[in-house]
Amino acid sequence: MGLYATTTRRRIAAVFVLLGLVALPWGMRLIGQEFYVSFASRVLIMALAATSLNLVIGFGGMVSFGHAAFFGAGAYCVAVLAESGVTSAWLAWPAATGVAAALAVFVGAISLRTRGVYFIMITLAFAQMVFYLVVSLKTWGGDDGLPLLQRSAFGSLNLKDDSTFYFVVLAILAFVLFMLDRIAHSRFGRVIQSIRENEVRMEALGYPVFSFKLVCFSLGGALAGLAGALMANQAGLASPNLLHWMQSGILMVMIVIGGVGSVFGGVVGAVLLLVCEEAFVEITPHWQIGLGLLLLAVVLWAPLGIAGLFGWGRNRE
């Protein structure tokens, strides 16, 4: 028993899920629904974004309501670079990650001096400032966003092919999840999870709490930037919607449903939310009422989220 995320069974389950996801494009081709490969890429990218927020909220205990700023920054970075002729993924994607990380260091260095509701509000304020700044820039497309005329060039791989793009996204997500699992069990991971539990005690044990939180917050921001870079590629557009506070809210809903502080919480939440949306939006435009009820049920009866129900949460060995 213990609180630090851990388990072997969960890793075995992850391998099977991964194999299923690898087979997905062929499966879709078999049933003639290739459209869904592109949709699946979008789901995995949102899963990556939600996972990055889970690092900040679930593991670090910092309830950030401005994560969309880093997500959108990554997307705009790729689109702006493409406009000026830089189309290589090897340059653009690390640049997007770096820009988002730098923004997160700046936002975090100021916001992390506050706690609780004030932290929520100040991160929201920063994100809204970024949103209005970008929307006001006509050179970046204003309200319409900045189109990405073609997907990034990724060595000999042709990302214009939806299946290839899907595999690249899947590989990145799998690596990030593996990394998050390593981090969760590392000294750093244990420190941030203990800070989440009792910040004052950690300071009184001699840990520079602020530095640990800032590194965790920035790492989350950087990964959100990477997700944003992929999202711009998937959608062919850096949209201001990616920066909007509702985007921060959606990511937050995803990790609450999926499992706050569990390695797979972001993935479970993103898949569930987007698949439900896709399935029910045809039937009724009011499907979000159902989502509301699900959220309510999770908060009341499964505070560790769906991942927690399957023993993938942070409380289980």
């Binding site: 028993m1 069990h185 750093f188 009184a204 044990l205 001699g206 640990f212």
Partner: protein
């Protein structure tokens, strides 16, 4: 008289006020390396405020604190711990949702000088066997070995108090600030805690805030009396017992 006292902690004229209320008013106190120094005083005398000021949880409004040759002004809480100044809390402050072993391991891991920084992202902590081994040894020292895998929140009050002390001890301090370690304990638990502190006193200098006068007079090499935010007397237990001002201000009929 012949040799100069080896001061580990020197508190000079420290004041702390909240609005117009002085919790500490020109309080001075010194702790000699190797001693158990007890700080006593009536409720509201400012004892816990002094512990907060020493540990860096509260800034003081005036005066100086010198610890082991370092002026502590502007030193953050975690820097003071690195210098060797660790504290326990009057109100138990542990990681209730972590196991007892993880609690202590987290405290052991904090010592950068022994293990390097905790900004280590890749290597699994489970391979840090030296840290885990030391955590087990500390649990044995405070008689919690059997509880290692229990959640700290499930321990009895007395066991939690022991864990509280173990957390401070795990940072390998030069000076251990114990803020009412026997708070809320029954006679048997108190007795065990006195035994533990006696044992710890052989390894580390202790500044002990405590209400239990029997424990104080058994453990302390020297005693300081804080009344109304000012230290009115400091000296050996015998001297304090005989001090007329202390008797009037505080001890009253407790020492008949």
């Amino acid at each position: 008289m012949s040799e100069k006292l080896d001061l580990l902690l020197d508190v000079r004229g420290v004041s702390k006020h909240f609005g117009g209320v002085y919790a500490l008013n020109n309080a001075s106190l010194s702790v000699v390396r190797g001693e158990v120094h007890a700080l006593i005083g009536p409720n509201g005398a400012g004892k816990t405020t002094l512990i907060h000021v020493l540990s860096g949880a509260l800034p003081c409004n005036g005066g100086r604190v010198v610890f082991d040759g370092n002026d502590l002004e502007r030193r953050s809480m975690h820097e003071r711990v690195t210098l060797g100044l660790a504290r326990s809390y009057q109100i138990t402050n542990i990681f209730t949702r972590l196991t007892v072993l993880d609690n202590v391991a987290m405290a052991v891991q904090s010592r950068v000088r022994d293990w390097g920084s905790s900004f280590s992202f890749w290597k699994p902590f489970s391979l840090d066997s030296a840290i885990i081994g030391e955590a087990h040894a500390l649990l044995a020292q405070v008689s919690l070995s059997g509880m290692a895998n229990r959640l700290a929140g499930q321990l009895s009050h007395g066991e939690q108090r022991s864990l509280e002390v173990a957390l401070a001890l795990a940072t390998k301090p030069k000076l251990l600030l114990l803020d009412e370690p026997m708070a809320g304990m029954g006679p048997e638990e108190s007795e065990r805690m006195v035994g533990l502190i006696e044992h710890l006193a052989q390894q580390v200098t202790i500044l002990l805030v405590e209400h239990d006068m029997d424990a104080v007079f058994r453990l302390a090499d020297r005693i300081s009396v804080l009344v109304g935010g000012t230290v009115i007397a400091s000296g050996s237990p015998e001297a304090i017992r005989g001090d007329a001002e202390v008797r009037r201000a505080y001890l009253g009929d407790e020492v008949a």
